[in-house]
Symmetry: C2
Subunit: 142 residues, 2 copies
DNA sequence: ATTCTTATTGATAATTTTTGCAATAAGGAA
DNA sequence: TTCCTTATTGCAAAAATTATCAATAAGAAT
């Protein structure tokens, strides 16, 4: 429970403000891990906050690298606190999710940054595919 | 212009139907490359098709591996025909986009599939980061 | 503690995306 | 070709997401 104060300070240092709404959302994410915007709203509506604020705040936190937006099926997003560096494998058929250590990617990422000049967010990638279960009953072979 | 018939046959073989709406959307994507749902609708509205149909069809094509959904800023999607294997680097600040050859990933992907048992869509990844220009005027350093 | 600047929120409207269901039409069978 | 089955579409309403703008409040300065 020591990361909230640290994040607050980080925000203030950049000229942003630490509001009750932002704290409430951060706490919700800290407590529950992955949450969709709707789920976040459920957990903070008691504070009287608007849905619009939830969306804006999540986007704000994402743009500042404080939370990550992981893609779920069909373009829907779930947000989570930016913490340990890891990646996601998501089954596009059933939505099952697997977390991966990030180490394997470091080399590749470095080489891509070199080639492109981009500084990449290498800590939270999402790859799509078919999980073992769905590979069986899949009728998709192009 | 030989891929449309091939896709049609592929759909029929799986028990789906080849409708004018699906063909129109595929042609639009084939002609223009990356398109958002709204842009697709613009290009096919002459046919009398509904927006709902555009969304449903894009999702249908995506779920069947015929088109890819590339993430743009803030969760918005753009669709493109599944064709040449390549990846995207997207600047999260300005939205600039760079395409990459897929070759570099093959090795890593194979190893991930081995570890996880997933069969991954290795042909269209989207990585986010900061392009060279936006790295300069960025005030974000945690 | 008080004032001041302006980032942030709430309220509301606009826009985008999804859903439910009856009507339609693709494609196989007769 | 005609008939049948049912996947697909259109229509309309619901839900989700984003934008606008005046009012509020965080945090620095006094």
């Amino acid at each position: 429970m020591s990361c909230l104060p640290r994040l607050s300070q980080s925000l203030r240092a950049r000229g942003y403000r630490v509001t009750p709404q932002r704290l409430a959302i951060l706490e919700a994410l800290h407590h529950d891990g992955h949450l969709s915007p709707a789920q976040v709203y459920e957990r903070v509506r008691q504070t009287g906050m608007t849905e619009a604020t939830v969306y804006r705040t999540l986007e704000f936190l994402r743009a500042n690298g404080i939370v990550f937006a992981a893609q779920r099926e069909g373009g829907r997003l779930t947000y989570e606190l930016a913490g340990a560096s890891h990646h996601h494998l998501v089954c596009r058929a059933c939505g099952a999710q697997v977390d991966l250590e990030a180490a394997a990617f470091q080399e590749l990422i470095a080489s891509l940054e070199q080639q492109s000049g981009y500084r990449l967010e290498a800590s939270h990638l999402t790859l799509f595919g078919l999980c073992p279960a769905c590979q069986k009953d899949s009728k998709a072979q192009a």
